[in-house]
C-alpha cells in the first residue's frame, strides 16, 4: 500500500504546531498502525529528519498508551481496538490518513502525537482506590460473597485502560466515561462501600478541577471506547454522586 499521511507536528507544549504531509510506500495490510508509523519514522531518521513522537508501550491493547486520533476518530475507524490493534487492512491503497493527538484542554500536547494524560492519574489519586490493611492479616477475598452479576459488571467497568479515547471523542472533552467506570468498579463491590461517599465526591471534584467538559450524553465515548465501557457507568456515577451529596 502507498499512503499519504497528514500528521500533526508540534515541537513542544509551547509550539503552535501544524499538519505536515508525508508519503509512505510498501506498507503491508497485515501491519499494525503503529508498525506503519515505525516505517515512517525509519524513513524520516534515514533522511536525517526528526521522527514523529507517539506514545506506545505494550502494543497489545492493554496499556492504554497509544492515543492517536485517526481520520477523525480516536484509535481510528475500527471498533473495540486501540491504535496498536488497528490493522492497515482497514485502509486502502492510495488513502490519505489524518493523524492527530487526542485533543482536550486537560490533555495538553507534549510533542507531536504525545499528550499529557496525568489528569487521569490525579482523578484516580483523588479516590479511585480502596484502603486495605495489607499487613499480612488480609481477609481472603473469596470469603466475601458477591452476586455474580455485580461481579461481572464491576469487572466490565474495571477493563477501562484509561487511554482517554472517551475524552478525545467527546465533543465536550468530557471524562465522565472514565470516571464513571472507575467509580462503578468499586460501587458494585462490598469492598468499595466503606469509602463510597468520599470517593465519588472527590473524583468528580478533581475531574471538574482538571477542566474536562460536561457530558451531554452523545454516546460517542461508548462507541469509540476500545474496551466497550458502557454509558450505564456514567448513569451509576450520577446516582452515586447524588446519593453521596444527600448523605453528607
Amino acid at each position: 500500500m502507498n499512503l499519504t499521511l497528514k500528521i500533526w507536528r508540534q515541537q513542544g507544549p509551547q509550539d503552535k504546531g501544524k499538519m505536515v504531509d508525508y508519503k509512505v510506500s510498501d506498507i503491508s495490510e497485515h501491519m499494525s498502525f503503529l508498525e506503519m508509523m515505525d516505517v515512517l519514522n525509519e524513513q524520516l531518521i534515514n533522511k536525517g529528519d526528526e521522527p514523529v513522537a507517539f506514545d506506545h508501550d505494550c502494543r497489545e491493547g492493554i496499556c492504554g498508551m497509544c492515543s492517536m486520533y485517526i481520520n477523525g476518530e480516536a484509535h481510528g475507524p475500527d471498533r473495540g481496538v486501540t491504535t496498536c490493534q488497528l490493522h492497515m487492512r482497514m485502509f486502502k491503497d492510495g488513502d490519505t490518513i489524518t493523524i492527530e493527538p487526542f485533543r482536550a484542554k486537560a490533555f495538553p500536547v507534549i510533542k507531536d502525537l504525545v499528550v499529557d494524560r496525568s489528569s487521569f492519574d490525579r482523578i484516580q489519586h483523588a479516590g479511585g482506590f480502596i484502603s486495605v490493611n495489607t499487613s499480612g492479616n488480609t481477609q481472603d477475598a473469596n470469603a466475601i460473597l458477591i452476586d455474580k452479576h455485580d461481579a461481572d459488571t464491576a469487572m466490565d467497568a474495571a477493563t477501562c485502560i484509561g487511554c482517554g479515547a472517551c475524552v478525545a471523542s467527546c465533543k465536550n472533552s468530557s471524562a465522565m466515561l472514565f470516571v464513571g467506570a472507575k467509580v462503578s468498579q468499586y460501587a458494585l463491590l462490598p469492598q468499595g462501600q466503606v469509602e463510597a461517599v468520599d470517593r465519588v465526591k472527590n473524583m468528580v471534584a478533581q475531574m471538574d478541577l482538571e477542566g474536562f467538559g460536561n457530558c451531554t450524553n452523545t454516546g460517542a465515548c461508548e462507541v469509540e471506547c476500545p474496551k466497550g465501557i458502557s454509558l450505564e457507568n456514567i448513569a451509576r456515577m450520577n446516582r452515586e454522586f447524588l446519593s453521596a451529596n444527600i448523605k453528607s
Partner: protein
C-alpha cells in the same frame, strides 16, 4: 448541596430535571390544544380555567417560566464551558461515526426553539397577559360578549401562511431536540439500567408524535378557518 449544584454532574442533573418538567408541560399543552380540533367548546372551557385559575397562574406559571429560563440559560453556560474544554480543534473530526446529528447539535436546535418561543410568546402569551393583568379583563369573553374568545384567537392566528410555516419549522426543531433530549434526561438523572431501556422507544415516539401533533393542529386550523 451547593457543591452538588455547582458540579458538572449537578448541573447535568438540574438540566435534566428542568427538561423532564418541560416535557410534561409540552404533553399537557398538546392535550389542551388538540381539543381545539375536536371540541372548540371544551377548548374554550379549559383555556379559561387555565388562564384564570390562581393556582395555575400564580404558582405553576412562575415555576414554568423559571424552568424555561433555567433550561436555556444553563444550556448556553454549559455550551460555553464545553467549548472551552477543547481549545485546539481537530483538523478532521468524524462525529457522525459515533453519535447522532441531534446529540451533537442540541445547542442549535435549542437556539431555534428559543427563537420560536419568543415568537410564540409575542403571538399568544404577551397579548394574554395584557388582556388579563394590564387591561384587567378576566372574563375571557369575545368583544361582543357572545362566548369565549380563546378558540377564535387561536384559529385567527393560523390564517397567515408564513406563521403556519414558522410554527411547523419550530416543531421540527422541537422534535430534533427531543429525539436526543428525552433519553438524555433520563441518563443524566442516573436512570439507565435494564428496567429503563424500554423508555427509549417511548422517548422516540414522544419526540416524533407530539411535535407532529402540534403541526397537525396548526395545519388543521389554517385549512379550516
Amino acid at each position: 448541596m451547593s457543591g452538588f449544584l455547582n458540579s458538572s454532574i449537578g448541573r447535568k442533573f438540574t438540566m435534566a430535571l428542568s427538561a423532564l418538567f418541560l416535557m410534561l408541560f409540552i404533553l399537557q399543552h398538546f392535550a389542551i390544544n388538540i381539543l381545539s380540533v375536536f371540541s372548540p367548546d371544551s377548548f374554550n372551557e379549559i383555556s379559561h380555567f387555565m388562564g384564570t385559575n390562581p393556582l395555575v397562574q400564580f404558582a405553576l406559571q412562575p415555576v414554568l417560566l423559571f424552568g424555561v429560563i433555567y433550561h436555556f440559560v444553563m444550556g448556553f453556560i454549559l455550551e460555553i464551558k464545553n467549548r472551552n474544554a477543547r481549545t485546539v480543534k481537530y483538523y478532521k473530526n468524524n462525529g457522525a461515526a459515533n453519535s447522532t446529528w441531534m446529540s451533537r447539535n442540541m445547542i442549535w436546535s435549542g437556539g431555534f426553539i428559543l427563537v420560536f418561543l419568543v415568537i410564540h410568546f409575542i403571538d399568544f402569551w404577551f397579548p394574554e397577559i395584557n388582556t388579563k393583568f394590564i387591561q384587567g379583563d378576566m372574563s375571557g369573553l369575545l368583544a361582543d360578549g357572545e362566548g369565549y374568545r380563546y378558540y377564535e384567537e387561536l384559529t385567527h392566528k393560523f390564517v397567515p401562511v408564513w406563521r403556519v410555516a414558522l410554527y411547523c419549522v419550530g416543531f421540527v426543531f422541537l422534535s430534533l431536540h427531543l429525539l436526543h433530549g428525552f433519553n438524555s434526561a433520563f441518563q443524566s438523572v442516573g436512570a439507565n439500567n435494564k428496567y429503563i431501556k424500554g423508555l427509549k422507544g417511548f422517548g422516540k415516539a414522544y419526540a416524533i408524535l407530539i411535535p407532529l401533533g402540534f403541526i397537525f393542529i396548526a395545519l388543521f386550523h389554517h385549512f379550516n378557518h
